[in-house]
Subunit: 216 residues, 2 copies
Amino acid sequence: MTIRYPNGKLYSPNPTVQKTAKKGKDKDYSFSNRGKTLEDEINEANDYYVKRRLAIIHKKPVPVQIVKVEYPSRSAAVIREAYFRTPSTTDYNGVWNGHYIDFDAKETASKSSFPLKNIHVHQMTHMQQVTEQNGVAFIIVRFSAFERYFIVPYDVLQKAWLAMENGERKSIPFSTIEKEAFEIPTSYYPRIDYLPIIQQLIEAKSHGSESEEIVE
Amino acid sequence: MTIRYPNGKLYSPNPTVQKTAKKGKDKDYSFSNRGKTLEDEINEANDYYVKRRLAIIHKKPVPVQIVKVEYPSRSAAVIREAYFRTPSTTDYNGVWNGHYIDFDAKETASKSSFPLKNIHVHQMTHMQQVTEQNGVAFIIVRFSAFERYFIVPYDVLQKAWLAMENGERKSIPFSTIEKEAFEIPTSYYPRIDYLPIIQQLIEAKSHGSESEEIVE
């Protein structure tokens, strides 16, 4: 069903648009980015991958605790009372070429570092567990000041997290990100084509473990 | 925080218990099963696996379209209007030993067959896509009349689905399930320890493809 305004424009009840508009107020998006959130950009890439059958990666729904539901006659059930719950995992997961892919998306306005307070303890635990099961765990970080995107592998996060727990700095310097993370170049569509970068990450990991074997 | 009743029993605010009690009314559960839903049983197994770091498999949250949220001062945000959305994937996914695991849980009261109307088209599409990416896709079916559980691999579902589309029967006979699916024996805890059965399924698949190669 489509609704048209008298001026011929389509009415779009898409909640993402509202969210973007709201976020756009306090952020200086470049025109090329058209005010998209990082979530929008990742969803765009995921849709692209699913349609072309390149990878099957989806965002998990927001977890809510439903308390009260009304069932009006002859219409859909309406949730009248519900609360947001803390997610116990990361937001995105799926499969690519036999690999289990698991990640979260984080954005920072900082120009000098990625603050670790952006990551929750339960997310670190989850990524640790995924890594133990030979899944591929990472975060996609957007440095909004530079419009640069990076895949930060779990082992890089873990190293910084342990250092923080030992009283060292509470963030990963941008220079470390540039050196140890994998940059996602931006393009027209999808804006962040992160799949080839995951492939790089997996190849780097398997080469890393091979050379370790040689050393032994 | 734990709350104890005067009789010493723990107060459990677990919403799953209510749900089970409601469902229990119209279902004849055996005592050993203690009125648990299939979802409860799978969650129990998943908790067991995560705690022992055997596999990381979670149920996805129920997707809801949030329309109205209130922010009362000094308390949590309350969702005041939301609607259930149709999930575009299956309910459970995760990783075990490098394998991407993806499934849905289905229950039937039928004693003779598993009706295919229990599966949605979008779930078949999703399982097809997962299979193409070398993920492991299946459904766990509970035949409540017998209290028997089976892992039905996607290829068995697909064959039956295609037959249905060609005008043949709209269900998988129980005899076919017994022959082509993998039964999950029940035990005390977790009641349905399905992980070793997934291992069987993966081994059967890899042997299957090996013998096909020999034929060629």
